[in-house]
């Protein structure tokens, strides 16, 4: 699966969004006033049909699909495309009002865009999403304008990871609760010479930098945009402004390596954190301990890294969600059958199977963390999720990056975020100018100009 829940997938998924913007923008402009949101009036048939499921990931285990077919009479044709290509296909098919799949990817960052364009059926028309919400905390990331655009099929959220050995060797508390304590601990690690640059911030002008800032903004008690899409970070006392100051300051102070100016999030995880060159990543991806840092083939810090409740201003802060979901495009031939598949695919039973709780033969390759809390709990108690006990409370309290849903203009906004923050990090502009630059862009995008 193309999941942020695992490091390799995360780097791919996050670095793609800006690349997607160009193709999607052209497709959107081509489709304006055209087939956008139009429904092809798919069949309500739910038995004896074949549906196409297009996701950026390996096919589900054949035995699981066979069981689904036996139980429902629905045959599933699985199409695997990389995340970028899939988004292009979704846009092209919706714009041309042409069928390509009955169920496909809905990414958190595109929820606002997809909701506004009406390209997907509202999931509350097919599933009891209200009942689902309690067990699926990240469902909130898929709601926009009162509709649920997709159902998350796994969990992904930003977390803080620390190399406990390095914190201990420096004689500092390996569980700092506030960002002040955390920063001081990093200073001690540097001062004691445990590592020269203890903090990992991927300052390359790429999506990973934007994501890092969102999480840091939340840790400073702020939000990026309000429900109307207005920037919340131009006031020097705002969370976003302080987060940017903290990040750039960490670089200036030497807590972050100067070379990080060209480091992407995946490089930061795989090279710096996994090779023991830094002591902590403030905004890492959920699941990386099990999928990367504890894997001997890719890590020299096996058993040394653990999740830390993200330090906030007065204590642990919320973890922001960035999951992928699945929804039903309006051009689906069999939307009702697709809904049955989604219900099955995201059920607690299937998620525990896919997570390997009920045996490796039922496991789904690369499936990181289930979207259902009950499945994560089963996974943790079964010993199938590394440090699951630490992840569960984070998942429970995780919240959307944008309370009002990701804006339709998210790709351009993210581009402005990482471009300006990168410039601030290089010293070519001040933090204030960077924040104003991002705010101006947000205002311009929100006004449609």
């Amino acid at each position: 699966m193309p999941k942020q829940g695992s490091a390799p997938a995360a780097r791919a998924a996050l670095s793609r969004r800006s690349a997607l913007a160009g193709a999607t923008a052209v497709l959107l402009s081509a489709g304006c006033g055209g087939g956008s949101g139009a429904s092809s009036g798919g069949s309500t048939q739910t038995s004896g049909v074949t549906i196409t499921v297009a996701l950026a990931g390996d096919p589900l285990p054949q035995a699981a699909l066979d069981t689904f077919t036996q139980d429902t009479g629905i045959t599933v044709k699985w199409v695997n495309l990389d995340w970028d290509s899939l988004q292009t296909k979704i846009s092209a098919a919706a714009t041309a009002n042409t069928y390509f799949a009955d169920a496909t990817n809905v990414d958190w960052s595109r929820v606002g865009q997809l909701g506004r364009l009406g390209w997907f059926y509202p999931m509350e028309s097919y599933l009891d999403t209200d009942a689902m919400a309690e067990d699926v905390p990240q469902l909130a990331s898929f709601s926009t304008d009162g509709h649920v655009v997709g159902i998350p099929y796994d969990a992904s959220f930003m977390v803080t990871t620390i190399n406990v050995d390095m914190f201990t060797a420096a004689g500092v508390d390996p569980a700092p609760a506030t960002i002040e304590e955390y920063t001081e601990a990093l200073r001690q690690i540097k001062a004691r010479g445990i590592v020269e640059h203890p903090l990992n911030i991927p300052f390359a002008a790429a999506e990973g930098l934007s994501t890092y800032w969102y999480e840091t903004t939340a840790a400073f008690g702020g939000s990026v945009l309000d429900e109307n899409g207005e920037a919340q970070f131009t006031d020097p006392d705002s969370g976003g402004y302080r987060a940017a100051e903290w990040m750039v300051g960490a670089l200036t102070e030497g807590l972050v390596a100067p070379g990080s100016i060209n480091v992407t999030d995946s490089q930061g995880q795989q090279t710096l954190m996994a090779q023991g060159q830094v002591a902590s990543t403030f905004s890492d991806y959920s699941g990386t301990v099990g999928t990367l840092y504890d894997v001997p083939a890719s890590s020299t810090v096996v058993g040394k890294v653990r999740y830390l409740p993200t330090p906030g201003v007065d204590g642990p802060a919320a973890n922001l969600s960035n999951p992928d979901g699945i929804g039903i495009p309006k051009q689906a031939k069999y939307p009702d059958a697709a809904a049955k598949f989604i219900e099955w695919f995201t059920s607690q039973q299937q998620q525990t199977d896919f997570a390997g709780v009920n045996g490796p033969e039922k496991a789904y390759t690369g499936y990181p963390i289930p979207s259902r809390l009950s499945a994560v709990q089963a996974m943790t108690s079964g010993g199938n999720l590394v440090q699951g006990d630490a992840l569960i409370p984070m998942l429970e309290k995780s919240r959307p990056v944008f309370e009002g849903g990701a804006p339709t203009w998210y790709p351009e906004f993210s581009n402005a975020v990482y471009t300006n923050l990168h410039a601030a990090a290089t010293g070519s502009m001040s933090v204030q100018a960077a924040m104003e630059g991002v705010a101006d862009k947000a205002e311009q995008l929100a006004s449609g100009s």
Partner: protein, 278 residues
């Protein structure tokens, strides 16, 4: 200054070559390494234990990924081959007509055809997708080939037009005086003379078709028609594909166009320069 010029020139050439070839070298190097060697730190700049296992796995191995790569390789050969043949045939006829025949609106039609080359490909994607969908040609070889032909025909026509225009009219007139009709003149007299131009056009069309990604991505739905370019990209989204295998697939994907470009370099350059000088 005179003595420095060659040094500067060679420095520039070396820089450009390194810039272009290092990524290719890295892909080739990774493709002949084991996964452990490819991931070793510090990185191995030269493989210490080169192996062809990744190529063997792709070309003869069983399993989902090798089978997809082989099927996608077949698809791309079929799609590019058919597109090239159809494009060259149609372009030859069109170019001959535009270069030699006199009819009302000839120049207008010719320049209109050339003007389509200025349209960004994205602008035609959605209309073509809708047309192919309404004709039931999505996810078919026919659909993909037709779109390729529509895309490459203007350039091919232009290249061949320049070739035909550069040939002496007297040869054609002699054929007509001897009683041959136009198609006979074209087939027996002009085509042999224009063979370099036709080869150039075929090569350029084939290479352009081989490099296509967006159109086949949108117009194909599954492995039955997806070309290698699309399938290799899709493998990125999978967790179980080793980077060495991915690089081997990538090297296979560039091997064919690279070989063609190297072997027929002269034709390609001539084709692109056709008509640029008198």
């Amino acid at each position: 200054m005179r003595t420095r010029t060659p040094a500067l020139r060679w420095s520039g050439i070396v820089l450009v070559l390194l810039w272009s070839l290092i990524p290719v070298y890295w892909a080739v190097k990774t493709s002949i390494q084991t996964e452990a060697d490819a991931r070793s730190s510090p990185a191995q700049y030269v493989p210490t234990r080169p192996t062809l296992d990744n190529y063997r796995a792709l070309l003869t191995g069983s399993g989902d990924v090798p089978e997809q790569i082989r099927r996608a390789s077949l698809n791309i050969v079929i799609e590019c081959g058919l597109a090239t043949i159809v494009t060259v045939v149609l372009a030859t006829l069109a170019a001959y007509a535009f270069a030699r025949m006199h009819f009302r609106g000839r120049n207008l039609l010719f320049y209109a055809l050339l003007a389509t080359m200025a349209f960004p490909a994205y602008t035609t994607l959605i209309p073509l997708y809708r047309i192919m969908s309404s004709l039931g040609l999505v996810n078919t070889y026919t659909g993909i080939v037709l779109v390729y032909v529509s895309g490459f025909l203007p350039l091919a026509t232009w290249i061949l037009h320049n070739y035909f225009a550069s040939l002496p009219v007297s040869i054609e007139e002699a054929g007509l005086v001897d009683g041959a009709h136009r198609l006979q003149v074209l087939w027996h007299l002009l085509l042999p003379l224009a063979r370099p131009g036709i080869i150039s056009t075929a090569l350029i069309t084939f290479l352009f078709a081989w490099a296509q990604f967006l159109f086949p991505l949108v117009l194909s739905s599954d492995i039955s028609t997806q070309p290698l370019t699309v399938v290799i990209a899709s493998l990125q989204g999978r967790h179980v594909v080793p980077s060495t295998l991915l690089n081997a697939a990538g090297v296979l994907a560039i091997a064919v166009p690279a070989a063609l470009a190297l072997i027929f370099n002269r034709y390609i350059v001539n084709g692109l320069l056709a008509g640029s000088t008198k």
